[in-house]
Each structure stands twice: as structure tokens, then as C-alpha cells.
């Protein structure tokens, strides 16, 4: 594989892969915030206290 092909492959797949993975992590963070909304810990503490 020549240097140009290698460099462009790294650029496209490497940078593209990084952006895609970060996009996936953004979705994941949004899901986590929906599944565990603020207040869930407080709710649990209240139940434990009863």
C-alpha cells in the first residue's frame, strides 16, 4: 500500500470512525439521562427511609 492510500484511508476511516463513535456516545448519554433522570437517587433514598 502506498503512502497516499494509507494516509487517506487513515484520514477517512480514522477521523470518520472517531466522529461516528462520538456520535454513538452522544446518543448513549442521552439514553442514560432518560433512563436515570435526576431525582432517581433522591427517590430511592426516600423509599429507603420509609
Amino acid at each position: 500500500m502506498d503512502n497516499w492510500t494509507f494516509g487517506m484511508t487513515m484520514m477517512l476511516v480514522g477521523l470518520g470512525g472517531t466522529f461516528l463513535t462520538m456520535g454513538l456516545l452522544i446518543l448513549l448519554m442521552k439514553v442514560l439521562k432518560k433512563v436515570f433522570p435526576l431525582g432517581d437517587n433522591a427517590g430511592r433514598h426516600n423509599k429507603a427511609g420509609r
Binding site: G7, M11, T21
Partner: protein, 382 residues
């Protein structure tokens, strides 16, 4: 009797004789060592790293020094911590324990700045190839653009160990120069109207459970996509899980302090040990320093340009300056953004948003390295 005295005296003069006959590169490197020590002590430029690196450099360049020979003290540190990659990984546990992903979790889309901030890695890789470096060497030089010392050391140790000294010194030096390198680029690429954009304050919306689950899920996801980078991401997320769980305060404290401090000392000495004059003083070292500088400039350019794109897409709600924080120099890059923002609008507090982009840069740099390693493996180059 006289002969043995003369032989003994001759032994004492061997070092000086070597210095005169073939020690010019060592002499130059002794000045470099003095420069690093000066920067660390007088200018306080990354003193935790540059002081031991400078002293390691000094030790290895004393004529006839045996510290990097088999059995030598620095060779010992090099073998146990650098060749095995243990030192950068242990430092990552400490970094994870010190990092607060809260601002990033509050505003997840800001993570994209952390990806944009890695463009410099790939552009520099292309430049290094154009300058005639080998493929794996170019990858290791490009990784300076991650602005992330441990990642640069981790990758270079594996794939271009002969460049370790130059790459790591360049990475740490330029990281410390972020407050000098970034502002002119930020000013050149933004308009007055963009620089004064006030970003709304962030209201807390993240639960403790989210903070605890986040490092575990990130480890699993990134491990699935880029398994070659799992040790890097795994260690940073382990440190963060320990911090967020709050149940292992002693381990968190040790990771942040004792372990990180001890490893930093050994790591610095071992890196300094790779800077022996005859091996270090080459044209390629200068080229690596030049490319490393370009890498960090290009990261900043890409980050700010991406910020301008987000400014347009958000209808002018995002200040493009925060794009400059999408690199791994934490929290220095975020502070630069805050300072620059306040220069143009005293009532503007960009710090929390910049911190989010900055932690995104930390994740992004590790992710970029992990993706690169997995792509290299896919191409059969490693």
C-alpha cells in the same frame, strides 16, 4: 606501582576523553537537559514532567554513563514501565479519577468538539508521510496532535519506540504552550460577533446513577468498536468510575496522588533516558517538533471552524471559541477559552461549556488513538 597509578588516573579521565573525542552530541544534549530543567524550575512549564525528563536526559548524556545499559537504573524503569506500557496506563487511571464528565453529560452534543479537535492528528499524519516518515512513524507523530502525553507515549512505545523521546517531549512541551499557541488562532478565525455570544448557564440534569453507569458503558462500547484501544479507555474510565461511585475513596485518592506522582517520576526519567545525544540529535527530531507544533495548531483550527459550523446550525447560540477546547489539554484549553471569551464580553462565562468540550477532547483523543490502532490492525500493519 607508578604504572598502576597512571592506569587508575587514566580511568578517571576516560569520561573527559570521550567527551572531547566523540561526545559533541552528548554535550549538546546536556545543554538541552539544562534547558528542560530551566523551563521546569524557572518558567514552571509542566515541571512534573519536564524536571524528571530533563534530569533523565542529563544522566544518560554524561559521557560513559551506564544508566541506560542493561542493569542501569533508567533502563530498569524503561523496561518495567515503558516497554510494558504500564506507566502511561497507570497515569490514565489518575486522569480518569481527576476528570469530571458532568459538564459533558449535561450537554452531550458538545462531545462532537472532542472529535473535531482530533483533525490535527490525521492532517499531521499526512504531512509526516509526505516528509518521508514511515507509516507507523507517521501515526506516532500525528498522535502528538492528541495533546495527550500518555496516549502519545502508549502508541509510540508500541510502534516507533526510537521516536519516543522526541514525541513525548514535543507532546508535553506543546501541551504546556496551549495558552500561547491557541489565542491568536482563535482570534484570527472568529468575528467579533461570534466571540461575544453568551451561552446559557447549564442547569444540573444528570443523576449520580448516570455518572456511575457512564464510564462502564463507554468502556464497553468503545471496546467493541476499537478493541486495540481498550486499555487506554478502560483505565481512564476505571479511574472515573472509582471517583463517581464514591465507595473507594482511598483508591481514588491514591490514583490521583501517590500512584500518579510515583509513575510520573519514573516515566519522566525513562523518557529522558531515551534522549541520548547520538540517537536523539537527528534532522528527524527537528521535523517531529515542527510537525507536533503544526498538529496542535491544526487541532485548534479544526475545533474553531467546527465551532463556527455549530454557531450557524444552532442559530447563533453556540460560541465558536469553545471549539478550541476540544483537545485533551485539560483543563488548560478550557481556561484559555474562558479567558478569551471574557476579553470580548466581561459578562460571558464559557468555562462550564468549555470544560464539557475539554473532557470531550480527552475522550476524543483516546478514541482517535483507539480507532487508529484498530484501523492499522484491520489493514494488517500491526
Amino acid at each position: 606501582m607508578i604504572e598502576s597509578i597512571l592506569a587508575g588516573l587514566s580511568g578517571l579521565l576516560d569520561g573527559s576523553r570521550y567527551l572531547v573525542s566523540q561526545g559533541l552530541p552528548n554535550l549538546v544534549m546536556l545543554f538541552v537537559a539544562a534547558g528542560l530543567i530551566y523551563l521546569a524550575i524557572v518558567k514552571e512549564v509542566e515541571p512534573l514532567l519536564l524536571l524528571p525528563i530533563g534530569f533523565g536526559c542529563l544522566l544518560v548524556n554524561v559521557p560513559l554513563s551506564e544508566v541506560m545499559d542493561t542493569g542501569g537504573i533508567i533502563k530498569f524503569f524503561y523496561d518495567i514501565g515503558i516497554i510494558t506500557e504500564v506507566f502511561p496506563l497507570l497515569i490514565f487511571v489518575g486522569i480518569g479519577a481527576m476528570t469530571d464528565f458532568g459538564p459533558l453529560l449535561e450537554n452531550p452534543k458538545i462531545l462532537l468538539f472532542g472529535a473535531a479537535g482530533q483533525c490535527g492528528i490525521f492532517l499531521t499524519l499526512l504531512l509526516a508521510l509526505a516528509l518521508g516518515f514511515g507509516k507507523l512513524e507517521a501515526v506516532c507523530i500525528g498522535i502528538i496532535g492528541a495533546c495527550d502525553g500518555p496516549t502519545a507515549i502508549y502508541v509510540t512505545t508500541q510502534y516507533a519506540p526510537h521516536l519516543l523521546g522526541a514525541v513525548s517531549v514535543a507532546a508535553y512541551s506543546y501541551m504546556s504552550l496551549v495558552p500561547i499557541i491557541q489565542p491568536p488562532i482563535m482570534r484570527a478565525l472568529t468575528t467579533q460577533a461570534e466571540r461575544v455570544v453568551v451561552m446559557t448557564t447549564i442547569n444540573p440534569t444528570v443523576s449520580k446513577t448516570t455518572r456511575v453507569v457512564f464510564p462502564i458503558v463507554v468502556t464497553l462500547i468503545t471496546g467493541l468498536i476499537a478493541p486495540k484501544g481498550l486499555p487506554l479507555m478502560g483505565m481512564i474510565m476505571l479511574g472515573n468510575l472509582m471517583k463517581e461511585s464514591g465507595v473507594v475513596a482511598r483508591l481514588t485518592g491514591a490514583s490521583e496522588n501517590e500512584i500518579a506522582n510515583m509513575v510520573t517520576l519514573f516515566l519522566g526519567l525513562a523518557i529522558g533516558g531515551t534522549m541520548e545525544g547520538h540517537a536523539f540529535l537527528k534532522a528527524e527530531t527537528l521535523a517531529i517538533f515542527g510537525l507536533g507544533f503544526l498538529a496542535i495548531c491544526l487541532d485548534t483550527v479544526a475545533g474553531v471552524l467546527f465551532g463556527k459550523l455549530m454557531y450557524v446550525l444552532s442559530g447563533g447560540k453556540i460560541n465558536p471559541l469553545i471549539g478550541a477546547a476540544g483537545i485533551s489539554a485539560y483543563p488548560m484549553a478550557a481556561r484559555v477559552v474562558q479567558t478569551q471569551g471574557q476579553l470580548y464580553n466581561r459578562k460571558n462565562f464559557l468555562l462550564m461549556h468549555a470544560m464539557g468540550a475539554n473532557t470531550g477532547g480527552q475522550v476524543g483523543s483516546v478514541m482517535a488513538a483507539a480507532v487508529m490502532l484498530s484501523v492499522l490492525k484491520g489493514m494488517g500493519l500491526i
